[in-house]
Symmetry: C3
Subunit: 323 residues, 3 copies
């Protein structure tokens, strides 16, 4: 595998078009922190599969177009080349594309919007990275969430931008205990798998295997912590009495998956204390996903990965050493 | 013109009362980034004209009282003298005064509130400036927006503070396409002009000429970018299907006007790449104005210049060099 | 008194269990900025009294359990020892415990939640402190407010977490002038006293005397500014026409009390200019408490000490010298 990646890197070093492809694949890989074109390719295939299976092929295409727009914009802005080549200016754009194509009705204007959103995500990435560099903490997917929220909120003000599949606007109402049913084993397993695919806004259990493979080829520890985060989320949500349908669809678990990977294997070296810290972070992310869903109710926009970002920032900012 | 300003500066250097007048005029000029008492005077006359024409003379008076309160407070707080003399502690106060007098019912308490708001705006300016200095980015009109939002939100809790002309509180509802009519040429021109005057919370086309004159006497590039921002906003809003009445009244365009001036001519030196960057910023500001109107709907407060501040911060924080 | 504290400190230096008790007491004392175990003990007794008198003894117990969890977590995280011994990792946890036990229905899950909240508050304290250290400004009670808001918002999404006593969710409606009645002298005095006890989420006038005693044993200036803040708040709220019941229950005044202590006696050395600055801060805190109540209305969560934090940050960030 290492030899394969090394010869691919040689090819990219001598070919601008291949380098462009490489940067975009790494951009997709960075959605789950992997600076590896093969991870990116596996993620891309998984999302294509999930989109096709759900009859919304335009979602995968939206992601692709937006990551291309983001990478091109990053070149135009002459950003730092190391960060660019590591895919750090692509993953937020990719997610912006997936989210706009998920929550908006397809139209010519929507496609223009996807390109625009991908491009803007690079500026927002530079801005937020610059601020958080002060405390040696990464921007994570905050540029995606901020860009997507702004662009989705605007659909209410412009008639050519249709937010067809946005969550309904409503008054906050405490959950009806009747919807928190005991989870069957099958639902439990389904919840774990879809928690992983919902990181890419898709609820498609089998595709989770491709995502885990994409993680494992670059970092087995990341794959393990993804699974830990997913299990922790489903158990926490179930024990606290979350809506079963949300748990099973992975809509509580995708934030804890990202938090567990970030705290457990990316920004700390794994050990027993780090495991505890990452686990507490994952549990808190499951709870905060509930808070974020509440907070967004009057605005009719999705929570996206806000819970992951908030909790991971709070857990990285202390700059604790766990060695 | 230069000779005139030089002899005025000589007069101010030897007279405390004239210096006080000068600082207040520059404070008004800084609403559109002009450190020039003549710009400030032209802006002041334009707003007086616009207020009188709309039958709300108290708005112009509110602005005047608040900028005097702000400047006096800045002296009391012994702020940095260079920044004070450049009018940097006045423009937020002036805008706070205009906004309180625009959105509240006139009463004795309101006038006390205007003085209080002008004074507080200086503390908030110092605070926000100090934070953003970390990234070498200015506070822009954020102190105005934060101060005005806090003071206007409080009108719901105190019966002697009446927010008579605040936007209605409501549930977020997507725009009805019927209100997005084709714009006639006259509406188009009107939208461009009022986009410029709405920077000062007034929708009065002819006064835009005075504002453009005030810009041009100090910086023709600023005047040009103001026009670019206004045209970009009206075109964007119209093509995306915004409510025609909002476009024509300048209520989409005032944020893009400020963004275009800031990004195109104040914080970057104009060139082709900068023009593209400022234009994208202006287009995004028009969209984000739609997002902000949506976001404020449940709270019943105006968006003020929040879209300009957010987009301009996002576009300045990357600290891109365009030379 | 000094001799007593010195010998207590000697005892703590040689006994781990006594040190643990000392750290927790100082943690409670730091709710009102007092690094003094006797202040903490007096505050603890006052809150126990207030809780018992109101028939909600679980509130005092919730505070106790959460501060113990916070202190233990701080030890586990190996935080800076000086800050730990000064109680700086305890007060936010104590307030989280008081607030969860105040606004949630008692249940086994709630008690687990109280322990979890106390523990999390330490991570959030480290995070926010690290950010604001950049500008030499303390985190104040922001970790408490952020933690409590997130945990309380989540009660809407999890059926085993019941937010029984949370404020109702509603649409923002301007105050009905009829509820702003003239305050009788008794109401006025009551408002001043409960403004002090509401710092700890309790409206129990007599307990205010214990709190003032707890302040006075460590810092007479703090006790004086607490009284100044309370009087300023009640006068301001009454003159602006706030709801009389809120004023009398201390629900406008607790933020100004904290602001006055912080600005007048803790982070500035008291003098005439500082007195004016702290007084303006206290008046603004009373107004901003009205803004915060408005802002929280659609979300159904309490304002907690958000007004104090916001205003005190805005007044400390300028880093003005008043000597």
């Amino acid at each position: 595998m290492k030899a394969l990646l090394a010869s691919w890197e040689d090819l990219c070093a001598s070919s601008r078009p291949l380098r462009f492809v490489d940067v975009n694949l790494r951009g997709i890989g960075q959605v789950m922190f992997q600076d590896n074109p093969l991870s990116g390719l596996l993620f891309f295939v998984a999302i294509g599969w999930g989109s096709y299976a759900a009859g919304v092929g335009q979602v995968a295409i939206g992601g692709l177009i937006a990551v291309l727009a983001a990478t091109s914009t990053a070149y135009w802005l002459r950003v730092d080349e190391d960060a660019l080549h590591a895919g750090l200016y692509g993953f937020n754009g990719y997610l912006v594309g997936l989210s706009l194509a998920t929550f908006m009705a397809p139209s010519t204007t929507m496609w223009v919007y996807v390109v625009f959103g991908g491009a803007i995500s690079v500026v927002v990435t530079l801005a937020i990275s610059n601020v958080f560099k002060t405390w040696n903490v990464p921007a994570l997917t905050a540029p995606f969430v901020l860009t997507a929220w702004l662009l989705l909120l605007a659909t209410n003000a412009f008639s050519k931008l249709e937010g067809g599949a946005l969550p309904p606007v409503g008054e906050i109402v405490p959950i009806d205990p009747a919807v928190a049913n005991p989870l069957q084993l099958g639902d439990f397993v389904s919840g774990v798998f879809t928690s992983i695919t919902q990181v890419f806004l898709k609820g498609h259990g089998p595709a989770a295997l491709l995502l885990l493979a994409g993680l494992a080829v670059n970092s087995p520890a990341c794959a393990a912590f993804a699974a830990v985060g997913a299990v922790a989320a489903v158990v926490t949500a179930h024990m606290l009495g979350a809506e079963s349908d949300l748990v099973t669809a992975g809509l509580i678990g995708f934030n804890p998956v990202l938090t567990a990977i970030a705290l457990g294997a990316v920004f700390n070296r794994p050990n027993a204390r780090v495991f505890v810290y990452a686990l507490v972070g994952a549990v808190l992310s499951a709870i905060v996903q509930g808070s974020m869903m509440t907070l967004m109710t009057p605005f009719g926009i999705p929570t996206l990965t806000a819970a992951f970002i908030l909790v991971t920032w709070l857990f990285l900012l202390p700059a604790q050493k766990f060695e």
